[in-house]
């Protein structure tokens, strides 16, 4: 079920909201089981055959987590933790990367192994990372012994189930267990609905209309001219942002209806004046996961932490991030280029070469992000290179294009640019509201 679908907005969300608060108001039931079953229904709406997979993952990881919490012997704990992490990576790997590995083996060794054509279960990449973070937190003693109900709710809470943000157990459960959150909060409701509306606008009005030129351009990559290739690539950059951040807004808004505040995932990334800053503003919860559960642990495990090691680990982490995005060389290249870009950025800062003008820094950052996203979007490397070639073909500048053939699409572009470069984002609304609330307390 998609957040911008009629079934979600008109039927599912109002129904779950009403029943949840009715249950809490008129019975002793805490509504958690109801939210879990709603989440399973929400997940199964897309393909009911995949629901056993998420349920198996929840049951297995709950069992592992309780083993970790109950054990006192540290080395045994570590073995169970590593087994749990390995299982989760393998589980994701089987569904997401089997055919990719087979294709590569066939190509390299000239084999003829048949593909398995395994369908990829929705949300698996997200709940795998969320689960790994949870298991590590259990190992660290951060998470206390809990019920299967709470753990299931943490994974299957539908607003963040499909595409994040990646949430942390303690943060979610403390909110679910706060007694004040038991009743409908009219201000949270109003703010939640406003944020859903903003997300819907970003997705339906902006992203979906920007996608028209994007789809055309990436299909006809070998015929588009210089100006069109720039429009297509920037359109995709904007489309991806509005699509994903719109989705996150709808997730945040939906969760707020249940008095749950999800962590922020985007913070006006296209205002960043360096790549380092960009990654503090783009897909923040993924970046935090990569930092806390991959980058820091790898660096800590090395005998010596120096600049060189840190840069190698940075590159490795971003290659992992690329692989995590999907089984294609485009994603891997996207991750690798961002890793390399960050190394250049860190090296520039370390040696204090010269003071970078903010506008120049911003221009370099947004263009670098835009170029790398071409690899993210393209189905193969040839088409990506063809578009980049057109973008650099200054001998063949032509301003002829049918991309802006109606006023509506022009308005979408103008609005998109004004919003990403000049508007405040939804975090401003949320932070402003919660700050006031704290103040009133």
């Amino acid at each position: 079920m998609l957040f911008h679908s009629i079934i979600y907005l008109i039927i599912f969300l109002p129904f779950v909201f009403s029943v949840y608060f009715l249950l809490r108001k008129f019975t002793d039931n805490d509504g958690k089981y109801f939210i879990i079953f709603s989440g399973i229904f929400f997940y199964g709406w897309w393909n009911v055959n995949f629901t056993p997979l998420i349920i198996c993952s929840v049951l297995f990881n709950y069992f592992i987590s309780q083993k970790i919490i109950n054990l006192e012997n540290n080395s045994k704990k570590k073995v169970i933790l590593l087994t749990g992490i390995a299982f989760n990576i393998l589980y994701l790997g089987i569904f997401k990367y089997t055919d990719f590995v087979i294709d590569n083996l066939n190509y390299i060794f000239e084999l003829n192994i048949q593909n398995f054509d395994l369908p990829f279960p929705l949300a698996m990449s997200f709940f795998t990372f969320q689960t790994i973070a949870y298991l590590v937190d259990c190992y660290d003693g951060e998470v206390e012994k809990g019920s299967l109900k709470d753990y299931s709710l943490f994974i299957i809470f539908f607003p963040q189930l499909i595409a994040g943000p990646i949430v942390r157990y303690n943060n979610m459960m403390s909110q679910f267990n706060t007694i004040q959150n038991k009743w409908i909060n009219s201000k949270n409701l109003l703010l939640g609905l406003t944020i859903i509306a903003i997300g819907l606008f970003k997705k339906v009005i902006l992203a979906d209309n920007l996608s028209i030129n994007v789809d055309y351009g990436f299909e006809n990559y070998d015929t588009i001219n210089f100006v069109e290739s720039w429009i297509v690539s920037f359109s995709f950059t904007l489309q991806l942002y509005f699509d994903f951040s719109g989705y996150i807004d709808m997730a945040t808004g939906s969760a707020l209806l249940f008095n749950i505040l999800l962590p922020k995932n985007f913070d006006s990334p296209f205002k960043a004046t360096s790549l380092i800053e960009f990654w503090k503003k783009w897909h923040i919860t993924l970046f935090n996961f990569l930092m806390n559960y991959i980058y820091f642990p790898i660096l800590r495990s090395l005998q010596k932490v120096n600049y060189f090691n840190a840069m190698i680990v940075t590159l490795l982490v971003f290659i992992i991030s690329g692989i995590w995005h999907g089984p294609s060389y485009g994603y891997i290249l996207f991750g690798t280029l961002h890793g390399l870009g960050l190394i250049v950025n860190h090296t520039f800062n370390k040696f204090n070469l010269f003071k970078m003008n903010k506008i120049i820094g911003w221009l370099i950052t947004i263009n670098y992000v835009n170029f790398t996203l071409i690899f993210f979007r393209c189905e193969n490397l040839d088409s990506a290179l063809s578009i980049i070639k057109s973008m650099l073909d200054i001998n063949n500048i032509s301003f002829k294009t049918n991309f802006f053939d109606n006023y509506y699409i022009v308005i979408v572009y103008v609005l998109s640019l004004i919003i990403v470069f000049f508007f405040k984002n939804v975090n401003f609304l949320i932070e402003n509201y919660f700050e006031k609330k704290e103040h009133i307390k």
């Binding site: 937190d137 660290d140 935090n288 806390n292 820091f296 840190a310």
Partner: protein, 81 residues
């Protein structure tokens, strides 16, 4: 008892400040303002070096989930005292 505690806290603060000076290699006027990602010199590399130095010098173990939480001088002192 209270006096002992205060002396102990002062010792920890001094040690932490010494570690900060070793890691950042800059003149620090006000330790209280230092914050990960806000203080220019305090980037992810310095952060992990700082965590490892704290573990080594103070003979403590900092958990994975605590690494990100110790994101300012004040939070580190609060965690240790």
């Amino acid at each position: 008892m209270k006096l002992n505690q205060e002396i102990n806290n002062k010792k920890i603060k001094d040690k932490v400040q010494k570690i900060f000076l070793q890691i950042f290699k800059i003149k620090i006027n006000n330790f209280e303002n230092l914050e990960f990602n806000k203080t220019k010199e305090w980037d992810s590399l310095k952060h992990i070096q700082l965590i490892l130095a704290l573990e080594k010098e103070l003979k403590i173990r900092i958990k994975t989930s605590e690494v990100e939480k110790l994101s300012s001088y004040q939070k580190i002192i609060k965690h240790l005292i």
